[in-house]
């Protein structure tokens, strides 16, 4: 299970091997909602923002 850096508290976040881009993780230590993205070919976590639940018929 890879360990990535939390961009909010700089702590460590454990992410599953098979995690996909867009996958969300709440960092328990700081409460931040984090999103997995690929940046320059490597997986990093960024703060998730501007997301909501889907609505529609």
């Amino acid at each position: 299970m890879p360990e990535l850096k939390c961009p909010v508290c700089y702590g460590t976040v454990k992410v599953p091997e098979d995690a996909l881009d867009g996958e969300l993780f709440e960092h328990e230590e700081c409460g931040a909602q984090l999103e997995l993205v690929t940046s320059n070919g490597s997986k990093v976590l960024k703060l998730a923002e501007e997301v909501g639940e889907d609505w529609g018929e």
Binding site: D18, L24, V51, G52, E53, D54, W55, G56, E57
Partner: protein, 265 residues
């Protein structure tokens, strides 16, 4: 006096004639009807070779994910097929019906989700680009008022205009609730395929708006949304909400007698 009635696609498919007859019976009395029809959209998407994608939000709300091709089928099915079938059926029973969608007269304005959270097939939360679905933000009731004053019954398909003028898919229950609030309706009726809100195998007969909101957190999907919207509507400007069955023959008397679950202060 305005009454807003909403029926989903499944109830309409099962009981179209009775519903059309009941709407004709209430026509001219300030009635606004909002329909769903997701199942028929799915059927036509399949016929056109489009596989519908149903997404589940982290709070458990399941909804259709609408890409550009699906939106096209959605518009054709909702505003075309289903809407005009209801309009012609109501008129066969002597009502004066006018089919509309939230796009017409900019009736419903919605905000499109740029990005949405879904629970993916592995049960994990993920962010994906938002489809052509919207969450309603405002109602222009001018068109509805014009049409009601002309003595016609608006039959509304759940479409809305997005902030860039694009057509969006919106939830029919939400559309009915927003319309009822904007018209300060006396009554908002959700026609479902059960007798009302069930708790312990029995229909809950009466709830205050805050009880409705509380109970909405524990009842099953579909009903949770109706219950929350019913509570919010009555907390705003709507006199009373009724969740009842849209099946059976005695629809009009069920509504007039408020049989089912009544949400009232």
């Amino acid at each position: 006096m305005v009454v807003v009635v909403k029926a989903g696609g499944r109830v309409l498919q099962k009981n179209m004639e009775t519903i059309a007859k009941s709407l004709a019976g209430m026509s001219g009395e300030g009635l606004v009807f909002v329909h769903g029809g997701g199942d028929v959209v799915t059927e036509y998407s399949k016929k056109l070779g489009i596989t519908p994608m149903i997404v589940t939000s982290p709070s458990g709300i399941r909804s259709r994910y609408t890409d550009e091709r699906e939106l096209e089928v959605y518009v054709m099915t909702m505003a075309g097929k289903i809407n005009k079938e209801i309009v012609s059926a109501v008129q066969r029973f002597g009502g004066k019906a006018v089919g509309l969608s939230g796009v017409d007269g900019a009736l419903l304005l919605a905000e499109r989700k740029k990005r949405i959270i879904i629970v993916d097939e592995r049960g994990r939360n993920r962010v994906i680009p938002g489809g052509y679905t919207g969450s309603i933000r405002s109602v222009n009731s001018a068109l509805l008022t014009t049409i009601l004053e002309g003595g016609f019954t608006p039959i509304v398909a759940p479409l809305a205009l997005g902030t860039e003028g694009e057509i969006l898919n919106v939830d029919g229950d939400q559309a009915a609730s927003w319309i009822a609030r904007s018209l300060s309706a006396e009554l908002l009726v959700f026609l479902s395929d059960v007798e009302g809100v069930m708790v312990g195998g029995r229909v809950v007969e009466r709830l205050s708006p805050s009880e409705a909101l509380e109970l909405s957190k524990t009842v099953g999907p579909g009903m949770n949304r109706k219950l929350a919207l019913a509570g919010e509507s009555v907390m705003a400007t709507v006199g009373k909400a009724l969740i009842t069955s849209g099946l059976g023959e005695d629809l009009l008397s069920r509504i007039r007698a408020s049989q089912g679950t009544v949400i009232q202060p």
